[in-house]
Every structure is written in structure tokens, then in C-alpha cells.
Subunit: 201 residues, 2 copies
DNA sequence: ACCTGAACACCGTTCAAGT
DNA sequence: ACCTGAACACCGTTCAAGT
């Protein structure tokens, strides 16, 4: 009781502990977090405005792992975009259980903004106008977010008692047991996307 | 108190009330739900196993609005897929606030299964093998889910204090104030997807 | 069979009290 | 400045008690 000689907590330590909890259990509660940090729940509020801010810190953590390319105008724009989207998705796929937490809030991180800037510059170079640039970025966001969610999906995605037709059953059979099913599907989707966009640009 | 002459509740009435609450407020709690139904919270458990089952009922409601085409092998497969994805996405975009609730659980509805069956049959007709069929369906799911989430995103998606480059700013400017921005982006993405897939098939 | 009220174990958050 | 314990208003769920 009373304040300790040097602080037990910090925003960083709280974020790290929350990240570990999400990775391990798929979520976090303030009591859990406090227990993990050997601290009382109310102590957290000395460093953090509330639970929502912690979620925001986690988003920053994930987002900051996205590798932004230094401007290399000699590489084809499709290669630049492909690398960026791979990194974008990998950053969130690393913490798949985090994504359902994030979808409830809007994007607001500074690193995200940098990423969108890089994308916009690259797409402009590819010949897209401003309106199409917004559409393309939206498409990429939808695709990456959806793909990251897919990583969190259960291994056997559909096994209700419903009738599965032979065509769908055959398709499902190619995926079961493969632990890189989601990665594989992402690479496929990425190729489809870039092919479709190349025709446009 | 004691049981009423005719039941006050039913699974359907509970689901409808929950749907209205989600549409109005973006979520629901058991006490809220009970209040809306003029009933005690504990009464709900006579008709429903718990909150999770109610969420599942909401998923069914949204999913059952997806229009499945009767098999028309004379239409081009891209047209069949386009209509299906539009309906799929519209069904969830109708309740955008619902989507963050749904992402936490796996898909398990019978109508969903029917939809996947139709997709698998159509893709097979288009010439996709079983493995690619799974990849394409995954891609479509990611895209539709992501797009539905996009509908729920705030009108001004990014307005942090960060630096917005001129290219991204120009792109953003084309979207602000347009209430059909998400619809427009979806149609664009759908076209890109189908163009990319046509090259594959 | 179906509704109620009391009860339980939880949650996020606040705040006076300590050093 | 920073931690604590008690307290508050909430949540989902259970269950004996009623008819």
C-alpha cells in the first residue's frame, strides 16, 4: 500500500500483458490483467483511461509491425502492393484472436495512416485516379481484414448437420488438416486481386 | 406470477426483439432484451439456452435473407456469383452493427451451407477444381465479410491527427459525404474479383 | 410448461485513503 | 505520483418457488 519506490506499471507493460492474454485466451479482462501484473485492478487506471484504450494500444502494436516499403519507384507497383498486403495481413494474423476485438472500433493509428499514404502514392503511380484509389484501398482493407478473420476461424469451418453437396464436400476435403489453408487462400486471393486490378490500371 | 395462460415469449419473439436492439443500439444485453419484452431476464432462459444462442439466431436471421438462385446453367457463372455475393453482402449490410457480434463465432447455419453448396456447384461449372473452389469461396467470404464490416465503419473513416499525404487526401475527399461510398466500393471490388477470377478459370 | 425474484459470480470503473 | 480496498452499477446465469 502507498506508492512504491519505482512504478510497478507502465502503459507498455500493460499493453504487453494484455497482448499475451489475448494470444493465450482470446480476450482479456481487467481483473485478469491486474492478476498477471501482480497488481490491483484499480491500479491500471493510473496508466490507462480504460479498457477501450488498452484495445487501442493492442491495435497499435499489431499495426506497427506492418513493414512499410521505402519508396522504390523502379519496382512494379503490384510487387510493392503485394509485399505491403502480405505484411499487413501477417501483422494481424499473428494475433488472430485480437481481430474480433478490433472490429468494433474505427482505425485511428498513426502507423495505419502511414500505410494508407504509401498505398495511395503507389496506386497513383500505377495510374489510378483519386476515386479509384479510395475504392482500391477499401477493397484491400476488406480483403486483408476478412483474411485475418479467416485465420481465427475454426479448423473445420463448417460441420453442421446440414447436407453438404458433393462439389462443396470435395472442395472442403482439400482443406482439412492443412494448417496453412488460410495462408494458401490468402495468396490465391492476393493474386486474383492484383490480376483484376492490373486489367483496370 | 406463475405461468401465464398463453406463453408471453417464444424463440422468434426473442430473436426479433434482439434484432431490433442491435439495429438501434449496436448490441443487446439480457436485461435490455427482457425489458423490451416486458418480462423478467430469467424468463428468457425458458426459451433459449443463453446469450450465445440468441446471437446464433441473429446470424440465422441475417443469413436466411440471402437469395439463392435456382440453378440456371445458361447464365454466365460470373453473373450468378455476382448476384449471390450482392445478396450475401446486402443481407449483412442491413444490420451492420451485427457483424462485430458474429465474427466471434463460427458459421454454422443451414442456409449458409446451402449457399456454399450453390457456390461450389457454380464454380465447378466454371471449371475450377476442388482445391481452387475452396480458395475462391474463402476469398469471397473474406471479401463479403470485410465489406459488410466496412458498412459499419464510421462515415469519416480516418481523421486522426496524423499527416495525410496529398494522394491519400485526394482519395479520401472523393468519399466524404457520399452515403453510398461503401456500396460503390463493394461494386468496384466485386468487378475486380470477377475479372481476376475469369482470367483464372 | 412458463414466469418470477432472489441469489451468485463476474465485469469495468470510481474514489477516498494511504505513502 | 502511484498503489490499494471498498464500493457502485452492471452483466449473464441458476434455481427454488409459484401457478
Amino acid at each position: 500500500m502507498g506508492r512504491p519506490p519505482s512504478p510497478l506499471l507502465s502503459t507498455e507493460r500493460i499493453a504487453s500483458a494484455a497482448m499475451e492474454l489475448v494470444a493465450a485466451t482470446g480476450g482479456f479482462t481487467m481483473p485478469d490483467l491486474a492478476r498477471k501484473l501482480h497488481v490491483s485492478p484499480s491500479s491500471l487506471y493510473n496508466h490507462v483511461a480504460g479498457r477501450d484504450q488498452i484495445v487501442e494500444l493492442l491495435r497499435e502494436r499489431a499495426m506497427s509491425e506492418v513493414q512499410l516499403p521505402d519508396d522504390q519507384p523502379d519496382r512494379p507497383w503490384t510487387a510493392v502492393v503485394a509485399d505491403l498486403l502480405r505484411s499487413y495481413r501477417r501483422s494481424f494474423a499473428r494475433y488472430p484472436r485480437l481481430i474480433p476485438l478490433l472490429t468494433a472500433y474505427p482505425v485511428n493509428s498513426s502507423h495505419a495512416m502511414q500505410m494508407y499514404n504509401v498505398l495511395a502514392v503507389t496506386l497513383r503511380r500505377a495510374g489510378f485516379g483519386p476515386a479509384d484509389t479510395l475504392r482500391v484501398i477499401t477493397l484491400m482493407d476488406c480483403f486483408v481484414l476478412g483474411s485475418a478473420l479467416d485465420v481465427a476461424a475454426p479448423d473445420e469451418p463448417w460441420h453442421s448437420g446440414e447436407e453438404v453437396g458433393p462439389e462443396f464436400a470435395a472442395a472442403l476435403a482439400t482443406g482439412i488438416g492443412k494448417d496453412d489453408r488460410a495462408d494458401d487462400a490468402f495468396e490465391f486471393g492476393l493474386a486474383v486481386l492484383l490480376r483484376g486490378l492490373s486489367a483496370e490500371a
